[in-house]
Symmetry: C2
Subunit: 436 residues, 2 copies
Amino acid sequence: MSAHYSEAVAGNGGMTPITDVDAYVTQLGQQASSAAAMMRRCTSASKNSALLAMARHLEESRASVLEANRQDLLRGREAGLDDALLDRLALDDARVDAMISGLEQVAGLPDPVGEIDGLRARPSGIQVGQMRVPLGVIGIIYESRPNVTLEAASLCLKSGNACILRGGSEARDSNAALALCIAAGLAEAGLPAAAVQVVATTDRAAVGRLIAMPEHVDVIIPRGGKSLIERITREARVPVIKHLDGVCHVYVDATADLDKALAIAVNAKTQRYGTCNTMETLLLDAPVAEVLLPRLAAAYAEHGVELRGCPRTQALLPSVVPAEEADWHAEYLAPVLAIRVVDGIDAAMDHIGHYGSHHTDAIVTEHYGLARRFLAEVDSSSVVVNASTRFADGVEYGLGAEIGISTDKLHARGPVGLEGLTTRKYVVMGDGHVRT
Amino acid sequence: MSAHYSEAVAGNGGMTPITDVDAYVTQLGQQASSAAAMMRRCTSASKNSALLAMARHLEESRASVLEANRQDLLRGREAGLDDALLDRLALDDARVDAMISGLEQVAGLPDPVGEIDGLRARPSGIQVGQMRVPLGVIGIIYESRPNVTLEAASLCLKSGNACILRGGSEARDSNAALALCIAAGLAEAGLPAAAVQVVATTDRAAVGRLIAMPEHVDVIIPRGGKSLIERITREARVPVIKHLDGVCHVYVDATADLDKALAIAVNAKTQRYGTCNTMETLLLDAPVAEVLLPRLAAAYAEHGVELRGCPRTQALLPSVVPAEEADWHAEYLAPVLAIRVVDGIDAAMDHIGHYGSHHTDAIVTEHYGLARRFLAEVDSSSVVVNASTRFADGVEYGLGAEIGISTDKLHARGPVGLEGLTTRKYVVMGDGHVRT
């Protein structure tokens, strides 16, 4: 595919049309590598002043950002985008305010870079520790929400990385306007322009090139629907930190406090339907099912949640729709809940291991030993006792901000904050020491 | 390719010939997944007793292990394997002793699993921390050295993982004999047989299948030559923890203590030639080159090290062979050293960034600010001040043992010990807490 309209080249301030997408993205990669080397020697103060300058430039450019967004929305409506997508795309004063305070908040977070852990003297006389350092160049591929542009830029910058941002084509004008604020902030703080580059073509070939440059890009973080992420994971020649899906469970054990169980089961399903940490399947230990199901059914009915149950659930609650095999695998992201009656914690953990997505799973129990077993044995990025799955979130966990939630096991697992955008290298200090 | 001799199926104790390699490896994967779930609930005591039982069974099977190895060596000599390969393949009493004490040593290491870091109360009232847990199923692909079979098995077991081990075809009889000791140790401690499975076919198709089962295998660790590792990285559909190459540098700054510089430069090159942390290029700051080069040349001459230099090196040391571009990229693993005279730390770091492999790089300096810059800015898995690059090693760093040295940035960087074979999940503890 070739570029289908004339585009500005991000990072160089010019308006050169992009004709060779591969060469263009390769150049972004080279520039990012050089910028990453400069970012490694960058102080916290200059990173923070760039973030605050970006916030100021966004405030000053508020009108032009909103106007650019209006163009995106117009084009989106013409193209027949659905309401949910248009809502994610839309900016208003409140959302701009949120972007500005997000930048200020990241500026206020502690800088993870340079921290040295576990520095110890070894019998040989050398001292060895591990220093937290930036990953290098991070490529971020996302969809319609233009505020991701600033979230991603700010977290990558604060963690000392250079980044290449590839937003959705539907947000191209909004992202271009935000890129100007980012560039102005970098320039004001004396940071390299290529520390944050916004890909200035909507040609999909740009994504193909971006994920296949291990010589320039250290990691790719895709944010979007499952099909986008699966495609990127399959084709990437660079490590990917990914979030696939959230088929989250709450298991209510026979010893559970029923009031806590009810509160957690309702909150985990209904506090927000479209988030990855929303419960999708409720597992009830047989002894509690009989007493709890009627109370649950009443509470879910108030919220308009459709229930789909196993035969044992149906026996207790005849109004329930029969659950099919696909329901146990489903990430509904909607007011629908699958319910299954199981016999004890082993059956519950077997279900979670088989049907779950290793995202976030909770137990409600007053039994110490079962809580301990659930914590140790359930292989998910967040394992929860007596609290709602909805807490699985970078801000709730105290990370300050998050770039996403990883369902991978390697490197970063669960909510990924600044630390997940860094790595640790060994530092060795001696005084002429040699190995014998 | 199909199996070219009748083989025993590992883990099931039988002698079923393997006709369908894909189905066989898939079955190993399924068995490993089930074993991994059991390993997550396994105590330190039972893991340690399995390791000690393996050591005992190896002692008792010493004669049959050495006899199996003799068969491998015979076949290897017939096949015309070179002396270096035959040496890596060969076992003798001393090497069996080392394997036995290796097992005992891993049994004595602290168990990393279950450790919870940073458990804190959040404003919402929940407590959040990170628990160290096994990765799950680890596939290890290695070449001729049969002792890797026990090293890998013991480290994976101690870290609570199930593993699938694929050794080199030249070591097939030795590995089969060692697999019997492993199986006996697992059985004695009541651990699942599939916690350690040794692939019982030398068919290369087994590797292709092993690296393409993300549903059963969590990570692949290849240990071997660069071409093996590049092929696996290219074809794997599972995350890979890899060690590519070690083009390690020592930079001697103008302020260096010349005696320390000489000791470090000689040790880093000559203490062992074939290891990945051996220095391959020496960078000399121009002001020290004139005084240091003659002393270095004399010392290296004693060790029979061939020197290849840049034009400025040649001007000071006419006997030096001219270095070509390829020399700066070379991992010689031999008594050969490239030498370049540079102007200051920035030129040295540019050289390391351009030609290095991000493995281990050292500076020799008495200048505090330069030491600090080198530590912060050189993007390598180990960065060293005033000590030999040869220290970059799991045992020297205090990890107890290592499965390899990672040149990746994500997850594990540098020497990988037990901790690198684990991951951290979030644990959340509440008392009926819901999100508002």
